[in-house]
């Protein structure tokens, strides 16, 4: 039986060196670039007609725009409009890398903890900087829950600080674990289909069909969760609602 984790291995396609750093073009890099290319294709080539009555491609591009725009408007408000391009890029990048992973023989970029962690850290650091830039040191009050008894405050501040600091971890691990587990499952059941052969392989095959559907849902859902949590963190930093 093939190792289900083998699909997550990084293969260096073109060996590159950047100031002593390993900057090789890997299978992971390839699918990042493909995702960027496809998103660009959808949003620029798909919109080339700029038609009043949109074509199918234009409709999809406009729908994704409106989807993310509404998400930002509902969760952050008008102050969030500045960060809309970032949230849109983030959502589309995660969505396309997730979906590309569903193509057989492809590579799932978001099943790499370092990639999801880097994205989550980007969100976390960015949001923290915005918070301090907007409220100065007053942003630290975010860690102090209002209306709590004074005796409990020191403990609550510690709890709040931990919950704030674990945000990038939970954000990245959620996406990474979902993608990795799903693809490992698919690989395992694919091996069952082959192993059980023509007579017994039908049951795991049927399961795989259903599970692939679920994985597509998860691929969309995780991109959505990633984007909406980014919006919520952004809202916290901008408005300090607690």
């Amino acid at each position: 039986m093939p190792n289900p984790m083998l699909q997550f291995e990084i293969k260096r396609l073109i060996k590159l060196d950047l100031f002593g750093l390993d900057a090789s073009f890997t299978n992971s890099s390839l699918f990042m670039v493909i995702a960027v290319f496809l998103i660009t294709l959808l949003t620029i080539w798909g919109m080339r007609g700029r038609a009043l009555v949109p074509t199918r491609m234009q409709s999809v591009a406009e729908l994704s725009y409106e989807f993310v725009a509404n998400m930002v408007r509902d969760n952050v408000g008008s102050a969030g409009q500045k960060y809309f391009p970032f949230v849109f890029s983030l959502f589309m990048f995660v969505l396309f890398t997730n979906m590309l992973g569903m193509v057989p023989y492809s590579f799932t970029v978001t099943s790499q903890i370092i990639v999801t962690f880097a994205l989550a850290a980007l969100v976390f650091i960015g949001v923290t900087i915005i918070g301090f830039a907007k409220h100065g040191l007053g942003f630290l009050k975010f860690l102090v829950p209002s209306g709590a008894p004074a005796v409990l405050l020191p403990m609550l501040v510690v709890v709040e600080a931990i919950s704030y600091l674990t945000r990038p971890l939970s954000l990245s691990v959620r996406l990474f674990a979902n993608m990795m587990a799903g693809h490992a499952m698919l690989k395992v059941f694919g091996a069952f289909v082959v192993g059980l052969g023509f007579l017994g392989g039908w049951a795991p095959l049927a399961f795989m069909v259903a599970f692939t559907g679920l994985e597509i849902l998860v691929a969309f859902l995780q991109a959505y969760v990633f984007a909406i949590l980014t919006c919520i963190y952004l809202n916290d930093a901008l408005h300090m609602h607690h």
């Binding site: 950047l18 750093l21 890997t26 992971s28 890099s29 990042m32 391009p85 990048f93």
Partner: protein, 161 residues
């Protein structure tokens, strides 16, 4: 787990930075403003179309109101014309009727006079006839001649009696 091979972190981070920054720049600078313009244009077009439809509806309402007003005026005018005509005709009929009555009255008078004249004529003739008859009778019975004046005297005497 292949995800925790530390040597693989650097190339992925570098390419993630390259591709994500490229994506962000393309989206923020080119793609999203274009989509925003298209959506904004459509929204503006729909709003202006609705506006135009509203204006046209307003105009239609005005035209209908004007038409109805004109119709009501025309109807009132038609009624008044009919009324006037009816009155004029009635007056004319009345005038002709009275004239005709007058004429009839005149003719009746004339006819009455004529009848009276005819009657008196007839009466004088009666005297004459009676005279002649009396003359003839006198002639036959007596065998004598009686002068006309004698007979007439006798007849008028008898007529008086």
């Amino acid at each position: 787990m292949p995800q925790f091979v530390l040597q693989d972190f650097a190339p992925q981070l570098i390419w993630l930075a390259i591709s994500f920054v490229a994506l962000y720049l393309i989206m923020a600078r080119v793609a999203l403003p274009r989509i925003a313009t298209v959506i904004e244009e459509r929204r503006g077009r729909i709003a202006s179309d609705l506006d135009q439809a509203e204006q046209l509806k307003h105009k239609t309402d005005e035209a209908i109101a004007a038409y109805e007003e004109a119709l009501a005026k025309a109807r009132a005018k038609a009624l008044s014309i009919a009324q006037e005509t009816r009155e004029a005709l009635a007056a004319e009929v009345e005038a002709e009727k009275s004239q005709a009555e007058k004429q009839i009255g005149e003719k009746t008078d004339e006819a009455e006079k004529r009848i009276a004249r005819a009657k008196s004529d007839a009466l004088t003739h009666v005297n004459e006839v009676a005279g002649e008859v009396a003359e003839a009778i006198v002639k036959e019975l007596i065998g004598g001649n009686a002068t006309k004046s004698e007979v007439n005297q006798a007849v008028s005497k008898a007529a008086v009696n």
